[in-house]
Structure formats: C-alpha cells, structure tokens
C-alpha cells in the first residue's frame, strides 16, 4: 500500500505501507518539476517493490527517503 496518510493503513491492518507524497499526488510531486517529480515517483515505486521483498510480522512503514543513493539515478522514460 502506498499512502500519504500512512498511519491510517497501518492502524487498520495493512502490513506493508509505503509513504506517499501527498493525497492529491501520491506517487510524485508536481512542484518539483518534471524530472525530479518522475524520480520521486520512481523512488516510491522502488520502495514498494522493496517492501514486497521484505519479511514483516506486523504493520511496517517503508520510507522512500531511505532508498540508498545509487538507485536514485534514473533511466528516465517519458
């Protein structure tokens, strides 16, 4: 689950929760400009995949800001 208001899914039973940017634009941020907006969305999606790969035993929060720097370089596709 990707959500900007991530405490709610964690309280209500979702076990793998990724921090989204904002309710109106969960996977990205238009105020960053096209390139950085895309990188942000990509980072969030990568984090979602990482969450699927991670063993959890209870609701666990995954923060895209914790992605290691190397994966922030993007093969940009528009």
């Amino acid at each position: 689950m990707i959500s900007a208001i991530y405490e709610l899914p964690m309280t209500t039973g979702a076990n793998r929760v990724v921090k989204g940017a904002r309710i109106e634009h969960v996977c990205g941020d238009p105020s960053l400009g096209e390139q950085k907006d895309f990188e942000y969305g990509l980072r969030i999606t990568r984090m979602a995949l990482k969450a699927l790969e991670t063993a959890v035993d209870k609701p666990t929060l995954f923060d895209p800001a914790d992605m290691p720097p190397a994966v922030r370089e993007v093969v940009h596709a528009s």
Binding site: L8, T11, A21, E24
Partner: protein
C-alpha cells in the same frame, strides 16, 4: 470580553408593507428587500418564500441557513469576514438576534469550483426527516436565489451568499433600538479555581482540501473570520462564535447550527457551576500529508495546555480523511494529560466493522450522534429508507442523481434522505449496542 445577547423571539412571519418586528411577529416587506437584493447584477433570480413547521414542504437545495443577528453595541459586525464583511474582532458589547427563524440560502450554485462536490442537503418541514432536524422547528425564510452561470463559481458563491446576508442584516436591523424581551450575558468570569477547566475544540472541514484553491473568496463552506482555507488552529473566545466568527455551512451543519451551538452554550451555561470554560480552539481539517495533519494536532494540544485546559470536547463536521486530524487531536490531548471527549457520528457497523475510521485506543470517551447503515427512526419505516412525498417544494423541482448525475429525480417525490449528522450535539439520536 462581555457580550449581551438580546433575543427577540419570532412566533410568526408575515409579508406586509413594512419590515419590522413587533410583539413576536416579524413583518417583511418582500418587494423592498428583493429590490435591494436584485441590485447585484450578478443575480439572475431572487425570491422569498416561507416554510413553516409542520408543513408538507421540502426545501432544495439548501446551501446554508443563517440566523439574523446584528451588533448594536461594540466593535465589528456579526458574521465577520465572510463575503467581504469587516474583519474586526467581535464578541463584545451587545448583539440582538431574531430567534425561531432562519434565512435559508436556496440555490443551485455549486459549493466550489473543483467539481466532484455537489449540493446534497434538503430540509423537510415535517415527516421523518423533519423530525430529526432542529431547523424544521423554525419558520424558515427561504431566499431562492441564482447567479449568472457564466461567472466563476467563486463569484456566484459570493453573489448568492451576500444576498442571504443582506436579508439577514435587514431583518435583524428591525431590532435596533428595541428592548429585547430576553437577555443573556456571556462573560467568562473568574470562577472557583477548583472547577475543572475545559476547552472546546471544533474541527472544521476546509474548502482548499477539495478545491485546491486557497483564495480568500467565499466557498460554500465553514469559514473562520471569512477564511475557509487550511490555516493553523484558531484560538477563539466563545463570544466570537456567538457573534458568528465561525460561519458558513458544511453539509448539514449550517451557520444557524454553529451560532446556536449546543456544546458551546452548554459549557458556557455551566461555567462557574461545574466547569471552567477556558476557550475554543477551532482546527481546520483535511490537510493532505501525515506531517501536516499531525502538526495541527500537536499544536492544538499545546495551545489547550497553554489555556490551562484539563479536559477537551472535540467535535467535527465532516466524514473522511479529516477524521485523522480529529482523532489525533484526541490522542495528542490525552498524551499531554488533557482528558478528551470526542463527539462524532459512526460509520456502518455491518460485518462487525469498527465504526470509527481510525479507532485509536485513546478514543475511550466518545459521544455518538448517529450511526450509518440502519436508516433512522422514521425513514426506516418507509419503503427502502426513503422519505415520503411532499406537497410543496421550495427551490428547484428536480435534482440530478446517479453515479454520474444523469438521472433526473422529482424533488417532491419519495427521496432518500441526505447524509445525516449532528455536528454540534443538538439531538438524542445515537449509536447504541443491542
């Protein structure tokens, strides 16, 4: 702050050759008032009709309803800041009110310009829906008003709401210079320091969440001193609310409900008796990140502490993700030792589901005003939770319904009720276990 509130009860309203209040009868010169309203070239329609308690009458669409009040002494104007009104701090001096009536804004103008949010509220003056509404006991002076659809939605909102306020002002003005039959003094006098200190925390849905617009124009939604956008919490003296500093509707809670706020009045009337009412913190809700939501709650709890609060009553006007601000305010208060009560409606319990969107363990003191999923007393007796046909409609005779609003429904006919809520605790409906 000391405020004298003079009440002029209205037991009948008639259209006549003058506009005046005398011995409980409010006479209205309809033509003169409408002539003044129609001076605004933005309006395409303006009419006044009366709806009396007990009638088989349905009023649709109801955008807002306002109790005519006027400041006769002291700074500022009632309902400050909204639709261009003066923003001077209110709550002092003397204010007159006409009780037993409201001016109802009946209009198809959309609440705001982002789409997806439509007028959905109607009132019945009798029958199962009328029975649960406090406003069906009023004589409702309905201003059926429309604005040029070529204008921006913001402009249309401004035009129709100014028209409603104009009618309110003219009606309330009839009491200037008269001695009120009833007077109540509102003052937070120093009281026995042993009395428990309570803060009232109403949480208000904000227009900017839905419309993305942070302008200071008037959207059809609840505003604090005219501002309906997301702002940090407001510290208010309860007198400011009596003078209409929080005004504008959200869904079923109208300006009338807020100004006649039972939670506020209950606390005020028991100030010095069994509580010490320390003030009001209005929280604007529907921020759209976790950090922003939580920030509002933590700041509210800190502010409550600074006011000396030992207890808090938290209420809210909406349904949806803004519940997070509400329940996290309860949590934030509890975590700093302020005993918090939540007044709320409940969601559908089918399947054993929790009835609060985010049920936190700190929400251990809840007053319930409604529960979804089981209709409500009168309407449930009707076929399929539908309200009966009425004889008369004030406003538009048809409405658009359906998932994409393509079906035309007759307003006079059997109609499912709007989503019910009792934000400020007027009634006795509640979710109960059985």
């Amino acid at each position: 702050m000391r405020l004298e509130l003079g009440t002029f009860p209205v037991r009948d309203v008639v259209f006549g050759s003058r506009t005046r209040w005398q011995d409980g009868v409010l006479e209205i010169n309809r033509d003169a008032l409408l002539e003044e309203v129609r001076k605004d070239p933005r309006l395409t329609k303006a009419a006044l009709e009366l709806a009396r308690p007990g009638e088989s009458t349905r009023i649709w669409p109801v955008r807002d309803a306002i109790e005519p009040r006027v400041k006769v002494e002291g700074p500022g104007v009632v309902y400050p800041g909204i639709a261009g009104r003066a923003i001077d701090t209110v709550g002092q001096g003397r204010t007159h009110r006409l009780a037993g009536i409201s001016v109802v804004e009946v209009s198809e103008v959309l609440p705001h310009d982002a789409g997806g949010d439509f007028n959905s509220i109607f009132w019945d003056m009798s029958g199962p829906w009328g029975d649960v509404l406090p406003v069906s006991k009023l004589i409702n002076i309905c201003l059926v008003v429309e604005a040029d659809p070529a204008l921006t939605v913001l402009d249309q909102n401004d035009a129709v709401h100014r028209a409603t306020l104009l009618i309110c002002d003219r009606l309330a003005e009839t009491t200037r210079g008269l001695k009120p039959p009833e007077t109540e003094v509102f003052e937070l006098k120093p009281v026995d320091p042993a009395l428990p200190k309570v803060v009232y925390i109403p949480c208000l849905h904000s227009a900017s969440a839905m419309s993305g617009n942070s302008s200071s124009g008037f959207f059809c939604t609840t505003a604090t001193y005219g501002l309906s956008q997301l702002t940090s919490p407001w510290v208010l003296h309860p007198n400011e609310i009596i003078d209409g500093a929080i005004t504008g509707p959200y869904r079923i809670a109208s300006s009338w409900h807020i100004a006649n706020n039972p939670i506020l009045l209950e606390l005020y009337r028991r100030h010095g008796v069994d509580v010490n009412f320390v003030g009001v913190i209005a929280v604007r809700t529907e921020w759209t990140t976790m950090a922003e939501k939580e920030l509002m709650c933590l700041q509210t709890a800190k502010t409550a502490q600074m006011l000396g609060a030992q207890g808090a009553i938290v209420a809210w006007d909406a349904g949806g993700n803004e519940f997070l601000e509400v329940i996290h305010t309860v949590r934030a208060c509890e975590r700093v030792g302020i005993k918090a009560i939540l007044l709320t409606s409940e969601d559908d319990p089918t399947g054993g589901a929790p009835t609060l969107l985010e049920p936190l363990p700190e929400a251990d003191s809840v007053v319930s005003v409604f529960i979804g999923g089981s209709g409500y007393p009168g309407a449930a007796q009707g076929a399929g939770n539908v309200l009966p046909r009425v004889q008369r409609v004030i406003g538009s005779p048809t409405r658009l319904v359906g998932p994409v609003r393509e079906e035309v429904m007759e307003v006079a006919g059997p109609m499912p009720p709007p989503r019910y809520n009792d934000t400020y605790g007027f009634g006795r409906l509640s979710g109960i276990e059985y």
